[in-house]
Symmetry: C2
């Protein structure tokens, strides 16, 4: 194959590592709007729910099998389980479970899933050190700001090249957050970022395997250890992120440095975080949303003769599977999405179980969905008409699906999603208490009570 035709190195990059470290170490506690602080709580709560929900998944079992071989000290909680492991291993496993259902948060500008790497490192560290909830929320906002800003610097080239951007930028976010939580000064924070810069995690080829959710977990672990190393005096290049042979120029050709520091401390990337209402690829969401709205208007599956769905061509390209054989295939079936939306009004992990997917009523309802391409409809929209057996037509057009930046999930909807994930692990009452604890994180004396609430009785 041909030799590398890389563009010339940029020797004039601004001192991003230093600037971000200074910011992370010195920005005032809660130095942002109430809206940003609330978004941080939503991000944190959604992450806890996802991690608890997947606690029994075989990927968690396998990860704990490996971690158990190290005979870890019981420093921190594995969410949704009775296992306690050392804080670095807890960061790893919680990072894995939080991304296992692909149901976690999304920074749409970069398609980074920001919470997995950062929150997983922070909760484990905070639980062990006794840090306050305010310290955790501060560190979460700042850590996510670092990972998403570096994502903005590199996206989309870096992602196009093959990197799973959640894991490759997440190590920096986790290191930044943990450095903040540990109270490191700017110089040691700079070293933490530097050590982390040598450890981007994850290639896209892993999508569809357990190693995909390993990426945020591995990033969380690596970021936490980077901060601990820096605290102990371990050194790295002070220009590790931006230097010609530093992280960004090595793993991305696009290097838009302004994204790293423009409006730093004014604009917070966590403001642009979104939460998935449905446990499947985002292009199906408008169709599910539309069918759920039909249901809310009183339309029942029994009444339906035919569902006419008009969508952008991309939707059928990516999710045009008409007769999915199991839950995994159903995640790539806009037909199943419509059937689930109309039948249940939701499409969480349960509605993508093999059992539901193969239920005769679902098979029958999918067969009634007629999808056609209409490229005048945006890929973030869907146009659905239900033709009922009595001849009536009920039409719903969704411009921006629930969960998008323009139409975010409400706090109550996030709670509903959380219950859908956690009730079967913790029970509904305990889940409700855990949800309350998540909302109150910023005022909590420490994170230990919250972590206990995430352990099944």
């Amino acid at each position: 194959m041909a030799r590398n035709t890389q563009v010339a190195a940029d020797h004039n990059a601004p001192p991003i590592t230093q600037q971000l470290a200074q910011f992370v170490a010195t920005h005032p506690s809660r130095g942002w709007s109430d809206a940003v602080d609330h978004e941080a709580h939503r991000t944190f709560m959604n992450w806890v729910g996802c991690a608890v929900g997947a606690a029994g998944h075989e990927s968690a079992e396998a990860a704990l099998g490996a971690v158990g071989a190290l005979q870890p000290a019981p420093q921190a909680t594995v969410l949704g389980r009775r296992d306690r492991v050392d804080m670095a291993s807890a960061a790893l496993v919680n990072g894995i479970t939080s991304h296992t259902f692909d149901f976690d948060d999304t920074h749409l500008k970069t398609i980074i899933h920001p919470a997995g790497p950062v929150a997983s490192a922070l909760l484990a560290l905070a639980e062990h050190t006794g840090a306050s909830g305010r310290q955790l929320i501060d560190a979460l906002v700042l850590g996510i700001d670092v990972s998403c800003r570096i994502g903005n610097v590199m996206y989309p080239d870096h992602y196009d090249r093959g990197w799973h951007i959640t894991g490759s930028t997440g190590t920096l976010g986790a290191a930044a957050g943990c450095a903040r939580l540990l109270g490191l000064d700017a110089q040691r924070t700079q070293m933490a970022l530097g050590i982390a810069a040598s450890q981007p995690v994850g290639m896209r080829e892993q999508f569809g395997t357990m190693t995909k959710p390993f990426h945020p977990g591995g990033a969380a672990r690596a970021g936490l250890m980077s901060a601990l190393l820096a605290r102990s005096g371990f050194t790295a290049s002070p220009k590790a992120i931006e230097a010609p042979r530093g992280m960004v120029q090595t793993i991305s050709t696009k290097c838009d440095w302004r994204e790293a520091t423009d409006e730093l401390g004014q604009r917070f990337e966590i403001s642009f975080n979104t939460y998935k209402p449905f446990a499947c690829g985002i292009v199906i969401h408008p169709s599910i949303d539309a069918c759920a709205q039909l249901r809310a208007q009183g339309v029942t599956p029994e009444q339906v003769e035919r569902i006419e769905l008009k969508v952008h061509s991309l939707v059928l390209e990516l999710t045009g599977k008409k007769t999915p054989a199991d839950g995994l295939q159903a995640k790539f079936s806009v037909y199943h999405g419509c059937a689930a939306g109309l039948t249940f009004g939701r499409a969480g992990e349960d509605e993508f179980s093999d059992e539901i997917v193969n239920r005769p009523d679902m098979v029958a309802l999918r067969a009634k969905v007629v999808a056609t391409v209409d490229n005048s409809i945006d890929e973030a929209s869907a146009d659905v008409t239900a033709i009922l057996t009595d001849g009536r037509r009920v039409h719903v057009f969704v411009e921006h699906a629930i969960g998008s930046l323009q139409n975010p999930m409400s706090d109550a909807q996030l709670e509903g999603k959380f219950h859908g994930l956690a009730d079967q692990v913790l029970g509904a009452d305990a889940t409700a208490r855990l949800i309350q604890a998540c909302w109150q994180t910023g005022g909590a004396a420490d994170l230990r009570a919250l972590a206990r609430l995430a352990v099944p009785a």
Copy 2:
């Protein structure tokens, strides 16, 4: 900056992940020549010596500070220290110390330092599991074969791009070796390689900081954990190394797939491993060697009026520092190299101490060295003439310095190097016993006795 101009993805790569896994899992024990097996012992011994020698370095202290925060179980030995930590942390710390003096082995075709990632993972795992010495040597040969072959696939583009190739390929080597040591079948070995493929470690910008030796340590740890995860059933892409968005195509434009499997099981890359006799950059080695030969011929510093040194221009470009102020600067001074060679007949870590570098006789001797560029002389050679106070001229031409592939260090010289590193940590008698244990590794029932010999009394 410009958008990425990456070459088109290669969708027709051979199934390297599968082929290498099959090889690692099924190649017969000691399925190679005695020469290869002996080279494996030399590689292992040299690695032990380097790790013991740097055990007291501040980078080891800092790393153990971070590891200690995890309250690790005492599963494995930190070489040259009384600390015992969990096996993954031992892999990390021993990997760091073995590369701290930049005195470890070199696979010259790729400038990979092969032992650091692989041996560090293997000894820690073997010590904890009770694996035999034969199992360790087998796994070392096979693990190094994997990392160096993947290095051959990507070198030099991958290195040019900014990756520290020791850490980026080392994770695969460590995973392969540990999978072998754990007795994983081909399918699980393939998963171990797949998990490891998402975790290349290290950028060249870190050179000159502690994060440089962190790279083999981090790779050792990641590889070991990848094998443990695979053993527990964790999954990865079966084409994680070669797929279009897999490891190699994501981090290198050069993808010479034949290098991965040509003569697999016939040609072993460990055969091309070399060991540094001198604790500095390799371009100075011929000059040191030449001056040590002058000393062996009876020339003393007092007799010398002038030393005329002729070398390739690259030597003075990289190491032209005439008046180094300290040990670190002296490593980039061919003048100091000549002075050390003539005075001591060696240039180990001690001869690059601040104290030696600033000794008046060394300062005076360096001033007597007159270096000139002669590009008819290869960069791997040196031409030295000593002009003595009585008018005599003594000439030495070194074509291939000691430690090169053409002129390897003898076993006795490797032992001498080991003593130079380890005597001050363990004492000369204990060091001699440890050296004997290293030579006898292939016949050892387990590695525990050897590890105990590497702990100071």
